[in-house]
């Protein structure tokens, strides 16, 4: 699910950036560092334009300046039970991997409808019901999150296809 979230970030700038373009430097730094990053709970999807930069403070000893930036961002946080769209990245005997943005999910053998079988002989290997349903690398797929676990800056999900629509 997507949220609008207010956040704060401390940015250090090297003295060589001090000058009339300092604001854009900070902006760029913020975008490159934060956008797309995952905290383990949610992923920052997009930083909104309006943000506040505090007065800079030179750090004793280094000469770098520290700025605190307040900004708003659209963040995405997956929930258990949520239905998501994703792209299949890898197909193996035990199931297949799905990338849903920053979240990597795995759909196990038992979570795939029983009419869809694994075909190791196909190149590349695929899950298929020998009709129009083929799950191979690159397939767009819709799954439901059955389990979710977050580690530091990484999230894992278990997906299922049994309770949602087919690809």
């Amino acid at each position: 699910m997507f949220f609008l979230k207010e956040m704060e970030k401390t940015i250090q700038l090297h003295p060589s950036y001090f000058g009339p373009l300092i604001r854009s430097h900070i902006h760029r730094e913020l975008l490159t560092k934060e956008e797309g990053s995952s905290t383990g709970k949610f992923t920052i999807v997009c930083i909104l334009d309006s943000f506040e930069i505090s007065d800079g403070q030179v750090i004793p000893g280094t000469g770098s300046a520290e700025y605190t930036v307040h900004y708003k961002a659209i963040v995405w946080r997956p929930y258990k039970g949520e239905v998501m769209d994703g792209v299949v990245t890898s197909v193996i005997r035990a199931g297949f991997f799905v990338d849903c943005g920053s979240l990597q999910a795995f759909v196990g053998r038992n979570m795939i409808p029983s009419d869809i079988k694994f075909d190791p002989a196909a190149t590349p290997p695929q899950w298929t019901d020998n009709a129009e349903q083929v799950i191979e690398k690159g397939t767009n797929i819709r799954i439901k999150i059955k389990g979710l676990r977050s580690e530091v800056d990484k999230m894992y999900a278990i997906g299922t296809m049994k309770e949602v629509c087919r690809p």
């Binding site: 035990a94 795995f106 190149t123 389990g147 278990i158």
Partner: protein, 801 residues
């Protein structure tokens, strides 16, 4: 899941009551049973008097798993005496066989949770990673076995085997030098032809070198596409590389654009748990019966029996393996170090070649030891990355290829023809075809794949021939037995693993036929200070059935020598026509082609002077007397000679001739009255084949034998001592021979083995061994002393004459 009596409880305990019946559903932390135990406690009554009282306590025992009770192993009133006794079996709805990111794939539960009830953490149920491109997916032993059984069946049906393919220097060669791009766009360049199929790529997220937009240029080994086409009908191929994932992916795109050969079966350093070794168990955790590996390095596979070692593919001279800094340091050979270097350096080396081998080799070994010992400590990794960075930057800035080409051009102008080199690793030595009057640094004549293909084909054929054979012989029987036993499903059994041959047995067997019965001595090949038996070359050739000795003995059939240098061992071997003195190329050819190639083209020519012996050694060749134990050995003579008697006879005759000759011009003690029926025992009495009864009349054929060298004069204490020492040396070797588990030079290299590879003019120092303390410090002194003693002996015998 079975619940057992827990540790940390005061046993014995008595079961008071079972709270659940069979087939009851239980939830985690539900009451399973109550038990009681007895303990003595100290009670203080109201008057302040203490007393020891025995008391019974009742305790509730909770379930540590969800599920249905399948079976009780205890009844009410039962007494449990110790921990670890089965109490109840609970059938779980999900056994968490497959886990992804520490969650069960089937029920989605977090596996890392643990509380007071946890006996075995759920994450420990699935510990095996058998996925190529993911480290988060783990499976249990049972699941892994099932998956492998599945794939085995599939492979057998398709008549295929699994093949693990290494990338760098096996099927491709990569460099970062941007000279390649310049040459590619210049049709006048002499290297243009060879570079036609070189493809370049950039890695988007290349933080390896901290150099923006680093280009990699990949050259496919000639004939790679056809090779894959043909091999993929016999093998299911996997990529296993020590490069990064991104790199492996890009290379896979180049060598397998349709992903027909490898699919997603690509394993890179990112998914390999260690940086040092490649492990079959990483991909095939339980069964490696049907796996063949091709790689140019054997040490990182721990000299696995599944390995087909291939000749190194070295297209860009001096580029090496750009991912090699993550691997343990390769053992370098003397000849290789001298020539692989860039031309300028090589030129300099020509002068300094003699010093070369001794320099820096110890540090090399130290480094290797260090790197092998290396844990995955971050600083080690950092260092490796820096090393790789350095390699890449060097390639980018110094442009060794360009330098080489310039050097070549200059040489062309001077109209010089460099000599064709016979050096094995010198696939990269500049070619000599004239191409627009300029020589090319790169040339496209590697034929390594043909040999690999031939070997793989042979393994495949042998495997399935044996498989079909075994099925034929065992199947009907098994079926009948099953029928008699009245078992239900013979079909199911017939797929069982009994008929499937094991590559680990099959391949060594095939390889052993190649050089079986040969006895190899290295000379001037393996750097000083390295344990010969554990050197890369020795381990390699031993896997083909050859035995490796330290010294030239009468069993010796081949001496592999450095053509540039005449070592003592070569000189000694030169006097025996039956010993073939060949260069290292012969061995490489044998080991890559898997056949005993004809030695003739590889023979190192010896001049006549070398063919005749020095008087000093003649003395030793003559056996004046034998010692007691030798006679004892003679009586029991189970001869197991690899060489036929006729051959021995002829060898003896030749020797006789030779000895007569030397007798004519030399004044060495005559062998006319020497005891000819002597037997030289080769220390190692356990091995019968080493004992050999000498035919009377074949005069002193044992001149080639170190042992009999020693038995010149029964009266000489010195010689006896030497002989004893030699015995010890050889028995030491034999112990070592059997063990090839490690590619490392053993750290506790013993005295005599040191310097064996390169002993220029020194006899292996026996005296230091003969003494019990065997201190190595005064080795040189001993050596000198020995030489002096021997000289004295010689003079004495001469004067007696």
């Amino acid at each position: 899941m079975k619940i057992r009596s827990p540790p940390g409880v005061q046993y014995p305990i008595t079961v008071e009551e079972l709270a659940k019946k069979r087939d009851d559903a239980v939830q985690r932390s539900d009451l399973l049973l109550t038990y009681s135990y007895e303990a003595t406690v100290t009670e203080i009554d109201k008057y302040g008097e203490t007393s020891e009282v025995k008391k019974r306590w009742s305790v509730r025992f909770n379930s540590s798993a969800d599920g249905v009770i399948a079976k009780w192993f205890v009844q009410k009133g039962a007494v449990i005496a110790r921990a670890g006794i089965d109490i109840v079996e609970i059938e779980e709805p999900c056994t968490h066989e497959i886990q992804f990111g520490s969650m069960c794939v089937n029920c989605g539960k977090d596996m890392t949770e643990s509380d007071y009830l946890t006996e075995q953490r759920n994450v420990d149920r699935a510990r095996i990673n058998m996925t190529h491109n993911n480290v988060a997916l783990l499976v249990s032993q049972k699941e892994a076995a099932m998956a492998e059984e599945d794939s085995k069946r599939r492979l057998l049906d398709a008549k295929k085997l699994s093949l693990i393919v290494d990338l760098d220097q096996t099927v491709i060669h990569t460099t970062c030098e941007r000279t390649i791009a310049e040459w590619q766009s210049d049709p006048d360049n002499p290297n243009y032809e060879a570079l036609k199929d070189v493809k370049g790529f950039q890695l988007a997220d290349d933080n390896v070198a901290h150099v923006a937009a680093n280009w990699y240029y990949v050259k496919m080994r000639p004939g790679l596409k056809d090779f894959f086409d043909r091999i993929s009908t016999m093998y299911e191929m996997h990529v296993y590389t020590m490069a990064t994932r991104a790199y492996a992916q890009e290379v896979a795109k180049i060598i397998d654009p349709q992903r027909r050969y490898f699919g997603d079966r690509i394993l890179s350093r990112d998914e390999n748990y260690t940086d040092k070794l490649k492990s079959l168990q990483r991909l095939f955790p339980t069964k490696t019966d049907m796996v063949v590996i091709i790689d140019d390095r054997a040490d990182i596979w721990h000299y696995s029996d599944n390995l087909v070692r291939v000749p190194v593919f070295n297209f860009f001279p001096g580029a090496g393996d750009i991912n090699a800094s993550f691997l343990p340091k390769q053992q370098e050979l003397v000849t290789a170090t001298a020539k692989v270097a860039s031309p300028e350096r090589a030129a300099a080396n020509d002068k300094a070649r003699d010093e070369e081998p001794t320099n820096g080799i110890l540090t090399e070994i130290e480094q290797q030891l260090l790197s092998m010992k290396g844990d995955d400590a971050p600083e080690v990794l950092e260092q490796q990355q820096k090393e790789q960075e350095k390699v890449i930057i060097t390639q980018q800035t110094e442009r060794p290829l360009l330098q080489q080409q310039l050097w070549l051009d200059k040489e062309d102008e001077a109209a010089e023809e460099t000599e064709e080199s016979i050096e094995p690793k010198d696939g990269e030595i500049p070619s000599h075809e004239h191409h627009k009057h300029r020589h090319a640094v790169l040339h496209n004549d590697d034929r390594g794949l043909d040999v690999i293909e031939e070997n793989l084909r042979r393994v495949h054929q042998a495997f399935y021939a044996e498989y079909i054979q075994k099925r034929k012989t065992t199947l009907p029987q098994a079926g009948r037995v099953l029928e008699l036993k009245g078992e239900k499903s013979p079909k199911k059994r017939s797929m069982g693993g009994e008929h499937v041959p094991d590559i680990k047995d099959l391949m060594p067997r095939m390889k052993h036929e190649v050089l079986g019965g040969t006895n190899i001595v290295f000379s001037g090949i393996i750097p000083l200070g390295m344990d010969v038996q554990f050197s890369d070359f020795a381990l390699w050739i031993k896997s083909f059935g050859a035995t490796v000795s330290l010294n030239v003995t009468k069993q010796t059939t081949h001496v592999i020598a450095n053509p540039d240098r005449k070592t003592t061992k070569v000189k000694r071997a030169a006097r025996f026509p039956n010993i073939k003195i060949v260069n290292a190329e012969w061995m490489l050819q044998c080991c890559t082609q898997w056949k005993h190639v004809d030695e003739t083209p590889y023979i190192i020519e010896m001049d006549a002077a070398d063919r005749s012996g020095s008087p000093f050694e003649d003395l030793e060749d003559d056996d004046v007397g034998v010692t007691g134990d030798e006679e004892g050995d003679e009586s029991e003579s189970p001869v197991q000679v690899e060489i036929s008697d006729e051959k021995w006879q002829s060898i003896g005759d030749e020797l006789q001739d030779f000895l007569d000759e030397s007798d004519d011009n030399g004044d060495s003690p005559s062998d006319s009255d020497s005891v000819r029926s002597d037997t030289s025992t080769h220390s190692d009495s356990k091995r019968n084949k080493r004992k050999r009864k000498r035919l009377t009349g074949t005069a002193s054929a044992d001149g080639s034998d170190e042992d009999s060298d020693a038995s010149v004069d029964s009266g000489s204490k010195l010689q006896k001592r030497k002989k004893r020492a030699m015995e010890r040396v050889t028995s030491l070797n034999n112990v070592v021979t059997g063990d090839k588990s490690s590619g490392l030079p053993s750290p506790e290299t013993t005295g005599p083995e040191e310097g064996q590879g390169e002993d220029e003019g020194t006899v292996p120092d026996p005296t230091s061994l003969s003494r019990e303390d065997g201190s190595e410090d005064d080795e040189d002194e001993d050596d000198d002393g020995l030489a002096a003693e021997m000289l004295a002996e010689l003079k004495k015998s001469e004067s007696e004459e």
